[in-house]
């Protein structure tokens, strides 16, 4: 057993860190958690920086060179991603869906033309992608998707609505799950498409979320004509493609969140040293010390569990059952950690905007609110516990669902 990087991996990491220090954008200030006033500026900052990573040879480390990757292993990809998310998460978030879902789906399930057409332009920063899975009546019950794609010669005509589509307002393309066959069992009638967002009939309407920002959107499709070459896999394979890709990418995502949250702990220490209660830094308060320690413990649990899952996946090439809990290990602790950070601030915790009394640029106020989405997006905690209970522990499905089948 060994928890360390090999000397070669360590050298690679150091090389990347020094490259990164020289290549961060000039207008990006690490002391601010939010550097861009508009979503459009934010998207451009992501794209420009992605281009730099591509030119520097630091993107898609584990994908083949012919598609714009670097031909190395998942380990190098993890090292790069963790370093990026602990150093400059802001420059990566607009690409989370692109790199976490679109790239692996196209690479794993796409055909040769799709891979050559799309992957290089994603990896060099030209295109941002969004994900159209959720619908008003298909949230946790994802198989209930009702957006329809009807075949007409060598095209499909798409009608319907998606919701909670993150970064759709910045996106050039969308990975889309739609119903192509309403006559078969629910999850067997779905197909998977790559959709050009500029096609006539695609409408994007921003949705304001509880943080006051519009990171998500509603997507409306009105007779959108999609060529059949844009279908991934066969008709009816959409559900399987969506699920497989999610499974394989989960381990990478969990490792990234572990790195991002480790920097939160440093922010929390700063907070506890600077914020006072009864005239003394809250750092001296035994209850807040316990909360700080517990936050760190949970981050380390996420980190080492993530490394163990990753190590297992590198060895066996398939995600093990222990990988299924990673999302619960970041989403729920993140709510507790941000809650504790708000608690440390007392009544000043209510100040969100700029003022002489704003604490750490309002980072924790935003993070506290944003964290409430963590246990909903990408598989709610309840769905994840159903999956663990049924697929890992072998507990029976509930009767109503069992009867429907």
């Amino acid at each position: 057993m060994d928890f360390r990087l090999t000397p070669e991996q360590e050298a690679f990491r150091e090389g990347f860190v020094s490259w990164l220090n020289k290549n961060l954008p000039d207008d990006w200030d690490p002391s601010r958690y939010r550097n861009y006033d508009s979503q459009e500026e934010w998207g451009r900052a992501y794209s420009d920086f992605q281009r730099r990573l591509f030119d520097g040879g630091y993107t898609a480390m584990h994908y083949p060179k012919e598609y714009g990757g670097q031909g190395k292993t998942l380990m190098e990809e993890i090292i790069v991603s963790q370093t990026l998310f602990s150093t400059c998460p802001e420059l990566r978030y607009p690409g989370v869906v692109t790199h976490g879902m679109a790239v692996p789906t196209i690479f794993t399930c796409g055909n040769e033309e799709q891979k050559r057409e799309f992957l290089p332009r994603i990896l060099n920063g030209t295109h941002i992608w969004c994900q159209g899975f959720s619908e008003p009546d298909a949230g946790s019950d994802m198989a209930n998707v009702s957006t329809q794609a009807v075949r007409e010669n060598n095209h499909y005509i798409i009608n319907g609505q998606k919701v909670w589509t993150s970064f759709a307002h910045l996106a050039d393309y969308c990975i889309l799950l739609v119903r192509t066959d309403p006559t078969v069992a629910r999850h067997k009638g779905l197909s998977y498409f790559l959709l050009d967002m500029k096609l006539p009939g695609v409408e994007v309407r921003p949705m304001t979320q509880i943080t006051g920002e519009a990171e998500f959107n509603e997507l409306f499709f009105d007779d959108v004509r999609v060529p059949e070459e844009m279908r991934v896999g066969e008709e009816g394979q959409g559900w399987q493609i969506a699920i497989t890709t999610l499974m394989f990418e989960r381990v990478l995502g969990d490792a990234i969140m572990g790195a991002a949250y480790e920097t939160n702990i440093q922010k929390m220490i700063e907070l506890a040293s600077q914020t006072k209660r009864s005239g003394r830094p809250v750092m001296h308060d035994p209850i807040f010390r316990q909360q700080l320690a517990q936050a760190y413990i949970e981050v380390l649990v996420l980190k080492y569990h993530g490394l163990r899952s990753l190590s297992n996946q590198l060895k066996t090439k398939i995600p093990g059952p222990e990988g299924s809990i990673g999302k619960l290990l970041w989403s729920e602790p993140n709510q507790r950690i941000t809650e504790a950070a708000i608690g440390m601030q007392g009544p000043n915790s209510q100040i969100m905007g700029a003022s002489p009394w704003t604490i750490q640029d309002g980072y924790w106020q935003y993070s506290f609110l944003r964290s409430k989405g963590n246990t909903i997006e990408a598989g709610s905690s309840e769905i994840l516990r159903n999956i663990i209970g049924e697929r890992v522990l072998g507990l029976p499905k509930d009767v109503s669902r069992a009867q429907r089948k």
Partner: protein, 380 residues
């Protein structure tokens, strides 16, 4: 990076599971729960034959000189079996203290005896006014000629009633800094002035004693390590023992989760197995989350004791002790709820796990103590 058990470790675990399933089913734990000694010589002898006493003891003293992680896989299985008896006190506390601080002659005498299964030992640490604070060691060892005289009371001393000797941490210099005034002593339990009383405890599978020292005279040869400098080695011993307890917690929690899920699949209420209800399913799923994440942190902590730097070893031990012991408490509490009335009955095994969970949670520093250690290490 390679975070998985290797072939040898998996074989050790498999052999341990096979042995304990056959020789030490929970019937044995129940029998020993009520038994004053708390183990049988027959099982002890068989455990010696399994080479379990020897795992960590260095080769020159009859051991195998293996790592904490190798012992961890055995301890996980012991936790699963709620194994009673003085293995933990002898191997994780006494032997490790001698390995850490002992002179060659002390190692020769005690480690060889432990490796061969001939002697048993324990550690006397907790004091009546210290609570869970491991650094609160005020029992006095007064210099007397070239030796010392021990005076005072130690509590929660595991298995002292069946041990041949104990390692006693006592204060030889006044002051509040344990690093400046703690000395470790080897004390023969048959020495004049030492009296042991077995306490009636919640977890009958882990016997705890009160040990009174009344004018107990010890020779200079009884000092383990350097006088006044006992805290540093003691801290390292405690770290390894804490990680050892975590291994028991993970193994115990794993079994408790299995009991809950097995029951949830067969127990029918409202015309369906209760495991189909999300109230039960999610509770079981949460057990899995805590068991597997505990195991990840346990492996890190075990690895760090041998290969991490001193700070990482200390941090990992405290992180693991706080997290794994609380996880075991959650899981073993959950199993009783999932089993309903069945889980509340003495004849069901669920309570054995709850009681061991609470014993382990409160032993060698409770979660509050360890979180404070984490806070100190984190903020420097």
């Amino acid at each position: 990076m390679d975070i998985a058990l290797d072939k040898v470790q998996m074989d050790i675990a498999k052999e341990a599971r096979r042995f304990l399933d056959k020789e030490c089913p929970t019937d044995y734990a129940r029998e020993m729960f009520e038994d004053e000694r708390g183990f049988t010589d027959e099982i002890w002898a068989k455990m010696v034959d399994m080479d379990w006493m020897r795992v960590r003891i260095p080769e020159p003293y009859g051991g195998m000189g293996m790592d904490q992680i190798d012992l961890t896989v055995v301890l996980e299985e012991m936790g699963r079996a709620v194994l009673p008896g003085p293995f933990f006190s002898t191997v994780l506390l006494a032997a490790e203290a001698i390995m850490e601080a002992g002179s060659d002659s002390q190692k020769e005498r005690y480690l060889s005896g432990i490796a061969a299964g001939e002697i048993k030992g324990t550690l006397a640490l907790h004091e009546p006014d210290g609570g869970a604070d491991l650094g609160f060691i005020q029992m006095e060892a007064r210099a007397d000629g070239d030796g010392f005289v021990l005076e005072g009371t130690k509590l929660s001393v595991p298995d002292a009633h069946v041990a041949d000797f104990l390692v006693c941490a006592a204060c030889t210099k006044a002051g509040n800094d344990p690093a400046q005034g703690i000395t470790l002593f080897m004390v023969d339990l048959s020495a004049d002035g030492v009296s042991v009383s077995l306490l009636s405890t919640m977890d009958g599978t882990r016997k705890l004693c009160a040990v009174d020292f009344k004018g107990v005279r010890v020779s200079p040869e009884a000092v383990l390590g350097e006088p006044h400098k006992g805290w540093e080695p003691l801290r390292r011993v405690l770290q390894r023992a804490q990680v050892g307890l975590c291994a028991e917690c993970v193994g115990g929690a794993q079994r408790a989760m299995e009991i809950a899920t097995e029951y949830a699949k067969i127990r029918v209420q409202f015309d369906q197995p209760i495991g189909a209800f999300q109230a039960i399913k999610h509770r079981c799923a949460q057990m899995y989350v805590e068991v597997e994440s505990s195991r990840s942190i346990l492996y890190w902590a075990a690895w760090a004791q041998d290969y991490g730097d001193p700070k990482e070893a200390a941090l990992a031990a405290s992180v693991a002790k706080a997290y794994c012991s609380e996880a075991f408490t959650h899981v073993s509490t959950g199993v009783i709820q999932v089993l309903g009335g069945t889980g509340f009955a003495w004849e069901n095994d669920a309570h054995l796990y709850l009681k061991r969970a609470k014993a382990n949670e409160q032993a060698l520093g409770d979660p509050i103590y360890h979180r404070e250690q984490v806070a100190q290490l984190l903020t420097g």
